[in-house]
């Protein structure tokens, strides 16, 4: 069990170190406007990649049709400026209904 504790500690300390990068550098290093701009864009790029891989893949393979179908509905709802709860619940609802109907 001590190996598990060591694993958790390493993961916790490492993760916290990653998360401290921004707050610690902030105010000490004056980032050029160009870099700030790239960081904001980079965050969006990361989030879109997360949503794309999260919607389409599971464990390195295709996640099945039900989940991407739900996320696609969310995209359409969001594009039409539907309220946030409608977008999220719409996605979960469509996926759940498709699964209940036998679509993986």
């Amino acid at each position: 069990m001590s190996a598990t504790v060591a694993m958790m500690l390493a993961l916790a300390v490492g993760t916290y170190a990653f998360r401290l990068v921004g707050p610690v550098l902030h105010g000490r290093v004056q980032l050029p406007a160009r870099v700030q701009e790239l960081l904001s864009a980079g965050a969006v790029v990361l989030l879109v990649a997360l949503l794309a891989t999260g919607a389409l893949t599971e464990g390195g393979g295709f996640a099945g049709w039900a989940r991407p179908a739900g996320v696609l509905v969310a995209g359409v709802l969001a594009w039409r400026r539907a309220p946030f709860p409608v977008v999220v619940l719409g996605a979960a609802g469509v996926t759940a209904v498709l699964r209940a109907a036998g679509v993986a």
Binding site: M7, A10, L11, L39, V88, A92
Partner: protein, 229 residues
């Protein structure tokens, strides 16, 4: 009733966060249940959620552990997945605030959902409020969910039945769409990045595809003029 000039209205932020909290709480329950059903003692998922506080990394680390991959591989997989939080923490550094306590506490609250939620707000005051409301609420709900799941064990069914796995990508869709809609440079970078991430997903270890996506910034462009300050 609250002075609108100083503090942004919190009700809409709480309302939108609440959905993310609800979904995260259920995922937390399933994390606790999976870990305990796999043979880990109750305190492992509970303590891990408090000190690591990163859903995907926790699932991966426990998955590697339960599959017999060993603690080193488990920690390495989780850390690889969490490298992206360094980029996120840079993106939200000025949103978190400059006080010592705010920085050290806020850093721990940097997650995909909270960063997306904060960056989606239209002005600095609302971005800061969104970060703290979403972050603190998510931390509380996630950990309570994990505790409940660990105590309940395998009594909970498959969360896929409720379509919850579609809720998280959907949350991100709703939050990033405004940025994609108004900024062509961000849009083409994000689309290229997502394409690259998807292309390498079958071959690359977990966590790597999303980092590969940053290469999409190559088409961001040099002459980019930003509308919002």
């Amino acid at each position: 009733m609250i002075a609108r000039l100083k503090a942004p209205p919190t009700a809409p932020l709480v309302r939108d966060s609440a959905l993310v909290w609800l979904a995260s709480g259920v995922v937390g329950v399933s994390f606790g249940a999976i870990a305990v059903a796999g043979g880990l003692p109750v305190w492992v998922p509970v303590v891990m959620s408090l000190v690591v506080y990163a859903g995907s990394a926790q699932f991966s680390a426990v998955g590697v552990l339960l599959a017999g991959g060993g603690p080193v591989a488990a920690a390495a997989t989780g850390l690889l997945l969490n490298t992206r939080t360094a980029a996120f923490s840079l993106a939200v550094a000025d949103i978190i605030g400059s006080g010592r306590l705010a920085r050290f506490l806020g850093a721990h609250l940097v997650t995909d959902e909270t960063v997306a939620f904060a960056l989606a707000q239209p002005d600095p005051a609302r971005r800061r409020a969104a970060f703290w409301i979403s972050g603190l609420g998510l931390f509380a709900v996630w950990n309570l969910g994990v505790l409940a799941g660990a105590l309940a064990g395998g009594a909970l069914g498959d969360t896929g039945t409720y379509g919850l796995d579609a809720a998280f990508p959907a949350v991100l869709v709703a939050l990033v769409l405004p940025a994609l809609r108004e900024d062509p440079a961000v849009r083409r970078s994000a689309l290229l990045g997502a394409g690259l991430a998807l292309a390498v997903t079958p071959a690359a270890p977990a966590g790597v595809p999303v980092l590969v996506a940053l290469a999409g910034l190559a088409v961001f462009g040099r002459d980019h003029g930003r509308r919002t300050a």
